[in-house]
Subunit: 322 residues, 2 copies
C-alpha cells in the first residue's frame, strides 16, 4: 500500500463525520483552510511525541492515538480556547495496517468528543514520531495567559495530580509503587483527560492565569509565577490526593502530588471575587476543582502545612535534555 | 544546558526582531495567539522532515533550517496565502550548540525574509526529526485550491524544474549526472526558493488551481487534474529547461523535468482571459512564469511534442512507503 492510500484509508474521513464548523477545506490540498468566528483570536499549540521518551515502544496504539491528541487539547484548555481542528504529522518505521487502524481509532474518538477534526498533515517513513498541532479560538483578553496572575489571587487545581507518576513508577517496577495496581491507574498515564470544558468555562468566569500540569505541579506553577512576577503559598494539606496515593510513604506521596508529571490537570489563578464564578464553571464543566493556595508578593513557592509551617520539599522539573 | 535554556537561547528572540503583525502572543505560553485580519481565512500546512528520507545525515544544518521552513512556505504559496507565522517541533539526538545555532540561522533568515515569525513549538530528545507547521491568511474565494481548474484553462509553471533532481543524482554518484556540477545546482536541492510573492499575486490575478511541485511535475499535476475532474495537454517543448539539463540524454532530461521532485515551483492554471494578469503577477513578483499547456475535458495528462504528437514517458510519483 502506498503513502497516499495509507493516508486516505486511515485518516481521510467523509466530511459528514466531523464537525465542519470552522473548517472550510480539510485534508487533500496544499493547505487546510479554517474560518475562526469574527473577532476571535487563534490559539495554536504543537507537541512532538517520541518513542522511548513519551511512551513505551509496546504502548497500545489506540491509547497512543488518544494521548497524542489529548496533550495538545490540554494546551488549548490551559488557554481557555475552544478547539477548531488539528494537523497530524506522523513518521512510521513501516506502514502497519492494524497499528494505524488502532491509532486512528483512539485519536478520532477523542477528536469527535471535542468536535476537533483532523484538517491536514504529513506522513513519512522514519523512527516513530508523532507531531500534532492543534488550533482553537478565544476572545481577545479572555485567554488564560501565564503572565496574568496578580498578587492575592486564589490558586486552584482541577482533578488531582500524582496518579500518572505512580502508574509510571509501577510500570518501571519501583519498589515503593508495588502497592499500586489496577487498570484505572494506568489509564491515568496513558489516557489523560484534557480539561477543555473547564478551560473554556474559566475563561468566561474571569480566571486569570492558567497552565496545564504536564511536568509536575510545582514546576508548572513556577512558569506562571515567573511570567507573572509573583510568588505563591501552597497549602499541602489542601492538595487533592487520589485514593491510590494514600498508602504511599509521605515523601513519595508528595513527590507524586507535586512533581509527578503527565497529569494534564489545569492549574490556575482567579481573583477572590471570582470564587462563586469558578465554582459555577467547575459545576458547568462537571470537573472537580480545589483551591490549594494563593499568590503573594515576591517569587517562588512556599509550601505550608495546616499550621502555616514550611514543608520541606526539593522541587525538580522534568527536562528532556538534563 | 537544559531544555528550557536550549529553546530560549536559540529560538526565542526579542519581539522587536520579528514582524509582530498578526502575533498577539509568541513563544512561552501553552499556546501562541494569532489575530488574522478581519474577513480572512487561515491557511495551515504541516510537513515532517526525517533524516535519511528528506536529507542526508551530514547536511549543512544552516541549509536544513532553510529548507525545513521553505517547504512549508511553499505550501502557503501554492494556496495564495500570505505567511503569518509558524511553529517548530524538533527532536534531536543531543543538544549540539553549534548545530542548533546554524540551523536557527538558516531558518530565521528565511523567516525574516517572509515576515513569518516563529510563534511556538516543542523540543525533545530523539532521532533527528523536524516538524514545521505554518500559518497564513487568504481572502475567502481567492485561495488557489487544487479542485478549481476548469476545462480550457492555461497551464503554467514558475521557474524551471529538474535541477534539484539532477543535484540529487550527482550526490548519489549516478553516471548520467557526472557532467552536472557546481554549488548552484546543489543549492537548488538544499535551498529551494518558495514562490510566496508569486502565489499571493496569482490569487489576486484570478488564477484558479495551484500546487507546489514537490514530488515531480507530472505527479503533482495529476493531483490538480483528479481534484478538478479535468485532463491536460502538456507541451514538452514549452517546458523551461535549465542550462544544467541541456547536455543530458533526452530520457534523463525528461525524467528531471517531469518527475524530478524537490522543485518547489508553482504549477497553476488560469483562464485564458487572465493571461495579461498572470504576466503582470509574474513581473510584480519578479518570478519567471511559463505557459506549458492547457486543461482539457477528460482525465490524465497527454504529453505532446511541437507537432502535437504524443511523447512517450512513464510517470512515477515519489512515495515514501512504496
Amino acid at each position: 500500500m502506498g503513502e497516499f492510500d495509507l493516508i486516505r484509508r486511515h485518516f481521510q474521513r467523509a466530511p459528514s463525520t466531523h464537525n465542519a464548523g470552522a473548517v472550510v477545506l480539510g485534508i487533500g490540498d496544499d493547505c487546510a483552510l479554517l474560518q475562526p468566528r469574527p473577532g476571535h483570536q487563534l490559539a495554536i499549540s504543537s507537541d512532538m511525541l517520541v518513542v522511548g521518551r513519551h511512551f513505551f515502544a509496546d504502548v497500545n496504539p489506540e491509547a497512543l492515538g488518544h494521548k497524542a491528541l489529548a496533550v495538545n487539547l490540554s494546551d488549548l484548555a490551559a488557554m481557555g480556547a475552544r478547539p477548531l481542528g488539528f494537523t497530524l504529522a506522523l513518521a512510521l518505521p513501516h506502514a502497519d495496517d492494524d497499528w494505524l487502524s488502532a491509532f486512528a481509532s483512539g485519536m478520532f474518538a477523542l477528536a469527535d468528543a471535542h468536535a476537533c477534526p483532523l484538517v491536514g498533515g504529513d506522513t513519512t517513513r522514519g523512527p516513530l514520531n508523532i507531531c500534532i498541532t492543534v488550533f482553537g479560538e478565544v476572545l481577545p483578553d479572555r485567554a488564560l495567559r501565564r503572565d496574568a496572575a496578580r498578587v492575592g489571587d486564589d490558586l486552584y487545581v482541577s482533578g488531582c495530580t500524582g496518579e500518572a507518576r505512580l502508574a509510571l513508577e509501577h510500570l518501571r517496577g519501583s519498589d515503593w509503587a508495588a502497592a499500586a495496581q489496577g487498570a484505572d491507574l494506568r489509564a491515568r498515564l496513558e489516557r489523560p483527560t484534557p480539561r477543555n470544558a473547564l478551560g473554556a468555562s474559566l475563561a468566561e468566569a474571569g480566571a486569570r492565569a492558567a497552565i496545564d500540569v504536564s511536568d509536575g505541579l510545582l514546576g508548572d506553577l513556577g512558569h506562571i509565577l515567573l511570567a507573572s512576577g509573583v510568588g505563591a503559598e501552597l497549602r499541602v494539606a489542601w492538595l487533592p490526593s487520589a485514593p491510590a496515593l494514600q498508602t504511599l510513604p509521605e515523601k513519595q506521596r508528595l513527590e507524586c502530588l507535586l512533581a509527578g508529571g503527565d497529569d494534564y490537570e489545569l492549574l490556575f489563578t482567579a481573583p477572590t471575587s471570582a470564587r462563586a464564578a469558578v465554582k459555577a464553571a467547575a459545576a458547568l464543566s462537571r470537573t472537580p476543582v480545589t483551591r490549594i493556595g494563593r499568590t503573594v508578593a515576591g517569587s517562588g513557592v512556599a509550601l505550608r502545612d495546616e499550621k502555616g509551617q514550611t514543608v520541606p520539599f526539593e522541587a525538580r522539573s522534568f527536562d528532556h535534555f538534563a
